[in-house]
Each structure stands twice: as structure tokens, then as C-alpha cells.
């Protein structure tokens, strides 16, 4: 990424962070958003904190061109929350795209620099955000699949010894199939 764009984004980061956080919060009911925005203590306001820290780190990561693998845990922490909050898949990940609009508007606002940033440079940055959105969708799917997997796992664990006993009986009688080998996942 061009140094000039990086400089502008760094300078504008506080504004970008605030606007992006506000946009994410707008996806919650007013009462919840008000609470999440106000309570950003790591332990007593974990939802607001996690989302704020997450998008803060994502912005830094995008500006500093941090490898995607390092950004993924930050994104994952946000997506996991949204995956259990009754959003549709598109609603859960759409906040990523807002960053494009916010970032380009903030860059444009720096009037003196405006002419210096050409469309191609900005577009490179924006395509990174697209990549982030695609990753977000993968993470969303992983989280939902995890939830379903956990339901099955939990049911099995609760009666683990009974399943073990049942399997032993089957073995003794030369019968199958073992419960563990059934396709429960």
C-alpha cells in the first residue's frame, strides 16, 4: 500500500474507529447498543469490549498490512458473538463492508491529500476489506457448525459411560454397530 495512504489512514484512524464501531452498534436494538457502547470494560462489559478491541485491531492490521492469519482471531472473536445473536448470515458479516465507505470518506475529507490518492490505490485497500469479509463469512459458518457439533457432543458426553457400556454389550453379543461409530456429527 502506498505510504501516503497509510499515513492518512493512520491519522484518520480514531475517526474511522469511532464511526465503524457506531455502525456495528447500530445493528443492535437501541437499548442494547447504548449498553454495549457504554460498557467497554474487558470483564464487566465483554461484548462492547470485544467488538471495540476487535475492530480496532482490524483497522491497524489492514493499515499495517498484517498477514491475514494474524487478523483472523480478532475477526473471529467478533463473528462468534454475532453468530449467536440471531442475525441472519448477511447481517452478521455486513458490517465489514461499511469500513470501505467510512475509510474512503475519511480519506476524501483530507482535502489536500485527496488528489494524491488515486482510485487504484484506494481500490487495493478496499479489496483487502473484501477479503476480510470473505474470511468473516467462513468464520461465521465455522461458528454455526460448531454450535451444532457441540449440541451433539454434549448429548454424547452426558451419557458417555452408558454408551461405553452399551458398546461392550454389543461386542459381547457380536452385534454392531457401536454407538460411537454412528454418524452423529
Amino acid at each position: 500500500m502506498e505510504t501516503k495512504l497509510k499515513d492518512i489512514l493512520r491519522e484518520k484512524k480514531p475517526a474511522i474507529l469511532k464511526r465503524w464501531f457506531d455502525v456495528v452498534m447500530e445493528t443492535y436494538p437501541a437499548e442494547a447498543a447504548g449498553f454495549y457502547k457504554g460498557a467497554k470494560n474487558r470483564f464487566t462489559g465483554p461484548v462492547g469490549y470485544t467488538i471495540h478491541e476487535g475492530i480496532d485491531g482490524l483497522i491497524d492490521g489492514l493499515i499495517n498490512e498484517v498477514p491475514f492469519e494474524e487478523l483472523s482471531p480478532l475477526l473471529d472473536s467478533i463473528i462468534k458473538i454475532r453468530a449467536v445473536q440471531k442475525f441472519s448470515p448477511s447481517q452478521a458479516v455486513a458490517f465489514i463492508f461499511h469500513l470501505k465507505k467510512i475509510a474512503s470518506e475519511e480519506v476524501e475529507n483530507v482535502s489536500s491529500a485527496h488528489s494524491a490518492i488515486d482510485a487504484a490505490t484506494l481500490s487495493t485497500f478496499e479489496s483487502k476489506i473484501d477479503d476480510l469479509a470473505l474470511t468473516a463469512f467462513d468464520l461465521y459458518m465455522q461458528a454455526r457448525e460448531k454450535i451444532n457439533e457441540l449440541k451433539v457432543e454434549e448429548a454424547k458426553n452426558m451419557v458417555y459411560r452408558l454408551i461405553q457400556r452399551q458398546n461392550q454389550l454389543y461386542e459381547m453379543q457380536g452385534q454392531g454397530p457401536k454407538i460411537e461409530t454412528l454418524n452423529l456429527k
Binding site: 443492535y28 449498553f35 474487558r42 448477511s90
Partner: protein, 538 residues
């Protein structure tokens, strides 16, 4: 080409504030946030009213015609019976201190999950029908009519509260929201409005003594697996006895420890400890459940299920009782058992046969928590321990709501962990001891169909675990509650992968040096101890 919506349109969720005030806004049943309704046979088993097939999402809940009268009479009866209930209905000043203390509110952001508002759902009805100002002024005095929508709202939100009492720690008046929820549920049960997940274990417990409804031979044969595993690990064959008359001590544990992982490892720990001490104890296959889902239903049902513990103690002729690692079992023992089914005059004040310690705190119930028992043994140097066998574990401790806030067991488990493990790290202050966050699944919320609710309610707990994972590399979450052992693995797996869950006595069992044991190469999970890996092949 079709016109695609823009991202900002896509992400826009319609959250227009309702035109009406909260009192008049009907509840919306959101999937993943509530449990299934009770099937009829569970209610029939315990002679509960209105057994029928129903689903919470149904328009028609098939209630008796006079349901309103039943509810109001139920409230009246309880207002007269429980001074605490009337007080809690009267004294809240809505200061809001409780609001952001509830993990369900922290996790869901739903205002009706603020303890103050959850209670207000019932208080508003109390004002309308039981206070002079409410009767005369109605809404102006904060009263509201009891309608079907209100009843549905009660059901939805009283089954989204885990009765953890975190809010009551912060309430300047000490209002116990858990008791309001308990009474709310009790009143709902007058109409057959329970959840399947709670009513099933209640019916099973009532008929067979444990949540799964397992019979004596099944229980016994399940223990054989654990006994075999202990022998494989230690070379020692422990010999638990069942329903043995004349034993000194009756041991009652949550049945989850007998059948479910990781609870069974805790159960192995109990048996190893008792064997090493040569304790004269017995299990009961009838009082085979410390847990009491009846207490999530009504006081009366709680009492009926709790009765079996003293009945078995009497039948077997034991002197006193030790209770295993269970959460709400201890809330029941500590707060209710003595007046429900006590005093247990036929038992003796518990005295440890090993240390001679007289458990004055249990002189009325005659029932000692195993963490107290074991901590006393360690304090008196009665156990040979090798904490290095837990060196592969970096442990933190989750205070269960019921044992911490319900009875004040805070230091014993920590004392034990510090003696059986070399790596122990506390979670941040605001998230432990009296201020502990709930697992999100207590009070019968640990079903599968409300998984989203559980994940959201448990998020504050998981978030604090994540912190110690990141700062200290914690990989084991210890606890003294069977619902924790069932629910926390799921919570960890979702939010903090890499952190496992163990009962306290699993860690004790790992560290306990038993007389005549072979060199340990495996922990209680039959996993190789790191430094002993492959030792057998050398």
C-alpha cells in the same frame, strides 16, 4: 440485472422502538433462547397440573379456563407464606445497580434480562392486584393487568434466568432475584408450564432417584468401568459399596459424575480418596442424585426429591453424610434441606474419622461438603500428594454460583488446588468468588435447544477464562459443580478452545499418592503424563 441491496441496507436490522411501553409490548419467542415445553407424562408422574402436549411457540398454550384465578391465588398464597417474596415485591427502588451484573443481560443486551426488569414483570402484576394504590390507580401506580401475553412473558424470561444470584450481591437491599425467579416458576408450574429439560429429570428422580432414571444394576455396572480404569492407572482395585447398611457415611454425588464425562473422572477421584483413607462409606443407588431439578420447579417438588437423602441415611443407618461436587444440591442443602426435611436428629454431628475434626457448620444438616472434608485432610497432613502429576495442567477455578453465593465455599477448593497442582491462576477479581459469573446453563437451562442463550449468558465467564489463557496459558478450568462439568466444556469449546474442564477431585485423584500403587504413567483420563510418556516401553 436484479438490483442488489447495498451493504448498509443488508446489515440494517429493523429495531424500531415499539410504539408501546414495555408493559404493553408482547414477548417475541426467539428460537435458541428458550427450552421446549414439558411433555405430559413427566407432569403426570409427579401429579402436576395440566399435563398436555404444548409448545411455547404455539398460540394456544392449552391452559385451564380459570388460569388467571390460579395465578393470582398462587401469588396470594406465596405472598402470605414467604415474607421475603412480599418484601422483594415491595422494596425495589429501581436504582439499577443490578442491571449490568446479570450475565444474561451482558450477553443478550435484552433489557428484560436486567434483573430489575425481570422482577418488574411480576411486580407490575403484584401492584395491580395486591396493593391499594395499584388497585385504584392501575398503570399510574405501575400496575398492569395479568393477560396471556404477560404470562407468556413470565415463562420466557423466568426460564432465561439461571437463579445465580449475582445481581443480589450488588443490590443495596439484598433482593434475591433467584427467589423471585423460583417463585415465578413455581406459579407457572401451577398451569403445567415447565420445560421438558427440567421436568424429565424431575420425573426420573422421583421414580428412580436420579436424573436419567437409571436402576441399581445399571448404576453398579457403570461403576465397574471406573473401577477398572482406576486399576489400570494405579494398579489398585478400589471397592465401592452400594446400599450397605451400617456404613458410617453415606456419600451422595450428582449422578452426572457417574455417567457423564468429564464428571466420571471426578467420581474416580472420590473413590480413590475414600479408598486411600479406608473410609467406611457407601453409595446409595436410590439417593443416587445430589442434584435437585425439583428446586427449579417448586419448593414442594424440591422437598419431595430432597427427602430421599435423609430417608436413605435412615434406612442404611449411617451416622452422617458427605456430599459430592454439585452446585444447586448444595444450595438446597445449605438453605432449604433443614427446614424441608430436617432436623435429621437420627444422625450424628459429622466428625472426620481421619482428623477428628467436628464439622460444626454441618451440625444441623449432618451433611459435609467434600471440599471441606478434603481441605481438612490436607490441612492435617493426612494425604500424600504429588502435585507434579498435574504439571501438564495450568489451572484456573470457576466458582459455581450456588456453592459460592449460596453457601460461601470459596477458599476450600482453592486451598485444595494449590496443594494438588503447581500451576494455579486466578481469573480477574470481578469475575470470581462472590462475584463469579454463571456458566450460563444453571437452574435447568443446560438444554440443547437454547444453545444460543447459553452461549450468550456464558460469554462473560468464557471471556474471563480467555484472559487467563492468554496471560498464563491456562488450559484447565476446575470447578465443583456437575452442571458446570456438563456445560462448561461446550462453552469453552465455543469461546475458548484449548481449555478443558475438570472437577476438583479429578485433580486430587491425579495427585494422590496411594499406598501400594504402581508408578503412574497416566492421568485419570488415561492420557499419558507428559514426563512419563512412553515410559512403559523403555
Amino acid at each position: 440485472m436484479a438490483k442488489l441491496p447495498k451493504p448498509e441496507q443488508l446489515s440494517k436490522v429493523e429495531y424500531k422502538l415499539p410504539g408501546k411501553r414495555w408493559m404493553n409490548t408482547p414477548v417475541e419467542f426467539k428460537e435458541g433462547m428458550y427450552c421446549n415445553g414439558t411433555r405430559p407424562d413427566y407432569l403426570e408422574t409427579v401429579d402436576f397440573p395440566n399435563p398436555r402436549k404444548w409448545a411455547p411457540s404455539d398460540e394456544d398454550w392449552k391452559l385451564p379456563e380459570n388460569w388467571k384465578e390460579i395465578v393470582l391465588n398462587g401469588m396470594k398464597e406465596r405472598l402470605e407464606k414467604y415474607r421475603s417474596f412480599r418484601l422483594f415485591m415491595d422494596i425495589c427502588v429501581r436504582c439499577g445497580a443490578c442491571a449490568d451484573k446479570c450475565q444474561f443481560y451482558l450477553g443478550t443486551g435484552d433489557p428484560k434480562n436486567m434483573p430489575v426488569l425481570r422482577a418488574e414483570l411480576m411486580r407490575s402484576v403484584y401492584r395491580r392486584y395486591f396493593t391499594a394504590s395499584g388497585k385504584m390507580l392501575g398503570k399510574l401506580a405501575g400496575g398492569r393487568e395479568l393477560t396471556l401475553d404477560v404470562l407468556k412473558e413470565w415463562w420466557y424470561y423466568f426460564y432465561q434466568c439461571s437463579e445465580c444470584r449475582r445481581c443480589s450481591v450488588f443490590c443495596p437491599y439484598g433482593i434475591d432475584q433467584a427467589e423471585i425467579t423460583m417463585i415465578g416458576r413455581e406459579i407457572l408450574n401451577l398451569l403445567g408450564l415447565n420445560t421438558d429439560w427440567i421436568a424429565g429429570p424431575v420425573a426420573n428422580c422421583y421414580m428412580k432417584g436420579n436424573h436419567l432414571g437409571l436402576e441399581p444394576h445399571t448404576i453398579k455396572s457403570n461403576f465397574e468401568f471406573m473401577v477398572d480404569d482406576i486399576e489400570e492407572i494405579t494398579g489398585i482395585k478400589v471397592e465401592p459399596s452400594f446400599n450397605r447398611k451400617g456404613a458410617e457415611i453415606l456419600f451422595v454425588a450428582p449422578s452426572g459424575d457417574m455417567f457423564g464425562d468429564p464428571g466420571t473422572f471426578t467420581c474416580m477421584g472420590y473413590m480413590m480418596l475414600f479408598h486411600e483413607l479406608g473410609l467406611d462409606y457407601t453409595w446409595s443407588t436410590f439417593a443416587s442424585e445430589g442434584g435437585n431439578f425439583g428446586s427449579f420447579t417448586s419448593m414442594e417438588m424440591g422437598k419431595r426429591l430432597n427427602y430421599k437423602i435423609y430417608a436413605e441415611a435412615k434406612r442404611l443407618g449411617v451416622k452422617w453424610i458427605i456430599g459430592g461436587e454439585c452446585g444447586h444440591m448444595w444450595r438446597v442443602v445449605n438453605q432449604y434441606m433443614d427446614t424441608w426435611n430436617g432436623p435429621a436428629d437420627f444422625l450424628e454431628v459429622p466428625v472426620s474419622p481421619i482428623t477428628g475434626t467436628r464439622f460444626e457448620n454441618a451440625k444441623s444438616t449432618k451433611m459435609v461438603h467434600i471440599a471441606e472434608f478434603t481441605a481438612d485432610l490436607i490441612k492435617h497432613g493426612k494425604l500424600k500428594l504429588d502435585p507434579s502429576r498435574n504439571d501438564h495442567l495450568k489451572v484456573t477455578f470457576h466458582d459455581s454460583c450456588n456453592t459460592s453465593r449460596g453457601m460461601g465455599i470459596l477458599d476450600e477448593p482453592r486451598y485444595i488446588i494449590k496443594n494438588v497442582c503447581n500451576h494455579f491462576y486466578e481469573m480477574p477479581e470481578d469475575t470470581i468468588r462472590e462475584k463469579t459469573f454463571c456458566c450460563g446453563s444453571g437452574s435447568g437451562l443446560n438444554a440443547a435447544e437454547n444453545m444460543e442463550l447459553r452461549m450468550r449468558g456464558g460469554f462473560p465467564r468464557a471471556n474471563a477464562v480467555k484472559y487467563v489463557q492468554q496471560t498464563h496459558g491456562v488450559n484447565m478450568l476446575a470447578n465443583i459443580c456437575a452442571i458446570d462439568r456438563a456445560a462448561l466444556p461446550t462453552l469453552m469449546n465455543y469461546w475458548v478452545p484449548g481449555v478443558d474442564v475438570a472437577g476438583l477431585h479429578e485433580l486430587v485423584g491425579n495427585a494422590l499418592v496411594m499406598k501400594g500403587e504402581k508408578e503412574r504413567t497416566q492421568d485419570l483420563r488415561l492420557e499419558d503424563l507428559p514426563e512419563k510418556e512412553g515410559a512403559e516401553n523403555v
